[in-house]
């Protein structure tokens, strides 16, 4: 399938989903759906580095939080424009601020992408488990930084009050949902494009055997940097609308362990070698978690993830996609 056709299909599917949810007319569905979509973006982003290149990133929460705090920062700047800006710049700034949410998303992506680039340079000499530890440390460092930065609320947290409605759409949550839907389309298209390009083959050689890739003249460092930037930027973009979704952000929630765990577990459960794998995993796990949150308790979420992950690692190490492949090849042989 050609990419334009694929994007068109995505848009049709997205629009259909949106219209159905709107017809049901229950805001809770949008709130729950937003979280699932957010996890699709996060896990697809994680998979670009973790699945395609084989570099396991434990710091997803850090990149996500970078997007979150870029938004919080710019929101706070807007609240205090008159104190922060010199008189000469004030009219200009008042014209620009408050920044619309799509711009915040873009900026969140840029900040997280730049940090991704820096992380890449610093850590990509590390391989395997050492890289994973370094990314884990990155998230901790960033969290410590945010905790001690009072402008964005420090450990106290920050309130971000979203408008209650937007023109045309109505409820603000529907606007957020729509934006996240667009990010899903963006990230999945990105992943699919990579998979079918020279870049994707380059990534696969890094995953399979980095030394051999180098011996073949594959520019491994450059490819890895592309992967860290893309993956980081998409995670940051997923985080940027979060303060407007939740209304109150503190470091503990923005850097929550569940982001790091989920963005690893979802691709693992879905399957890491195909663009649809992370999406499958995110829809399955994300929905399950939402159901568990309302029926049992929100604390049971990580337990579900853990149990499912153990199950899949034992029974289907290549995820749902892998299961499906074995099943179809067995059928074709029979």
């Amino acid at each position: 399938m050609r990419t334009p056709v694929f994007v068109l299909l995505e848009i049709v599917a997205g629009a259909a989903l949106f219209l159905i949810l709107r017809a049901v007319n229950n805001d809770y569905l949008f709130f729950a759906g937003y979280t699932v979509l957010q996890f699709i973006v996060l896990s697809t982003a994680w998979n670009i580095l973790g699945g395609y290149c084989g570099y396991v990133n434990f710091g997803s929460a850090g990149f996500f939080a970078l997007g979150v705090y870029t938004s919080v920062f710019l929101y706070t700047v807007n609240q205090n424009l008159e104190e922060l800006m010199p008189e000469s710049l004030l009219p200009l700034m008042q014209a620009i601020f408050p920044l619309p949410l799509p711009v915040l998303i873009l900026l969140g992506g840029i900040v997280a992408g730049l940090v991704g680039l820096g992380t890449g340079y610093l850590t990509l000499r590390l391989r395997g488990v050492f890289f994973a530890i370094a990314t884990l440390a990155l998230a901790v460092v960033l969290q410590t930084f945010v905790v001690n930065w009072s402008f964005v609320g420090g450990s106290r947290g920050a309130y971000v009050i979203p408008p209650s409605t937007v023109p045309v759409l109505g409820p603000y949550i529907q606007y957020l949902f729509l934006l996240m839907l667009l990010l899903v389309i963006l990230s999945v298209t990105c992943a699919r494009l990579i998979e079918r390009s020279r870049l994707g083959y380059g990534f696969a050689t890094i995953r399979d055997d980095e030394l051999a890739a180098e011996a073949c003249g594959v520019p491994t460092l450059r490819l890895k940097l592309i992967a860290t930037v893309l993956s980081g930027a998409l995670m940051g973009m997923a985080g940027a609308p979060f303060p407007y979704y939740i209304g109150y952000v503190e470091p503990g929630s923005a850097f929550d362990l569940s982001y790091a765990v989920n963005s690893i577990a979802m691709p693992m459960i879905g399957g890491t070698t195909w663009w649809a794998g992370p999406m499958l995993g995110a829809v399955l796990l994300g929905t399950l978690q939402q159901i568990a949150t309302v029926t049992i308790s929100s604390a049971v979420n990580l337990l579900i993830v853990g149990l499912l992950l153990i199950g899949f690692v034992i029974a289907a190490p290549d995820g749902i996609v892998g299961l499906w492949h074995t099943w179809t090849s067995r059928r074709s042989k029979a």
């Binding site: 696969a204 399979d208 051999a212 890739a213 073949c216």
Partner: protein
């Protein structure tokens, strides 16, 4: 093909993995169109020397120069991809294929070098002609082939880069004796076809010496003996006794 002058000169390099010294004052030349064999048992620095040439290990002292088509390049400080781009390819020890890619994909990945991309079709045809087995198994996953077939694929993959100089690290590792003979023959054949300059690290003395013009014996990171010809290596009592235990 205008590969008139392709050689490697290594002058007095020293290399170490942190505190462990691996190469100690090693000098070596591979002349244009020559096949030079680097002999030595495990842990004497053969692979490290190869990696130094490819820019994967950086020696802390000494010079490595390559002449490619008459132009001299200083390899120290260059990245591996730049070195491959010049026209130096390596067949890594233990083959190092991409096991989850098909045979054909492995070959195409060998043509990462810019110049080689234009010649993909010709090179692919030649590889399939030289190793018909690879053509049969074009769509099979590389990791599912036998050791001998994998070695053929590793050689073919390096050729896809249209190299001028080919480094081969221990082609006989893990192969049955009959396959070692076949592999060495294949190396000779493709060397002649492409008029390659070849540096080969090997433990299997008798096999390697069949196609080598010259050879070096490396012991504990030092060149213990430099043979001016294959004959000289073969007839040297010291080597036979001290190093090979024949």
């Amino acid at each position: 093909m205008a590969n008139s002058d392709n050689s490697i000169t290594i002058e007095r390099i020293h290399a170490a993995y942190s505190a462990v010294r691996v190469l100690d004052d090693v000098s070596l030349t591979v002349g244009s169109g020559e096949t030079v064999v680097l002999l030595g048992t495990n842990g004497n620095g053969k692979s490290t020397l190869m990696k130094c040439i490819m820019g994967m290990v950086r020696p802390y002292q000494g010079l490595i120069r390559a002449r490619i088509d008459g132009q001299t390049h200083d390899l120290i400080g260059m990245t591996t991809e730049e070195i491959v781009d010049l026209g130096i390819a390596m067949v890594p020890e233990g083959r190092r294929l991409f096991p989850r890619q098909t045979v054909e994909e492995n070959l195409l990945l060998g043509a990462s070098r810019r110049l080689a991309r234009a010649r993909i079709k010709d090179n692919l045809d030649f590889c399939f002609e030289l190793f018909p087995r690879l053509a049969e198994r074009k769509n099979q996953l590389a990791g599912s082939m036998s050791g001998g077939e994998q070695q053929m694929l590793a050689l073919a993959r390096a050729l896809m880069a249209s190299p001028r100089i080919l480094l081969i690290d221990e082609p006989s590792v893990g192969l049955a004796p009959v396959l070692v003979t076949r592999t060495i023959d294949a190396i000779k054949q493709l060397k002649e076809h492409y008029n390659l300059t070849v540096l080969m690290a090997e433990q299997n003395f008798t096999q390697a010496i069949r196609i080598a013009d010259r050879g070096y014996v490396i012991v504990h990171g030092r060149i213990a003996f430099a043979g001016g010809s294959a004959e000289e290596l073969n007839n040297n009592e010291l080597i036979r006794e001290f190093y090979l235990g024949l």
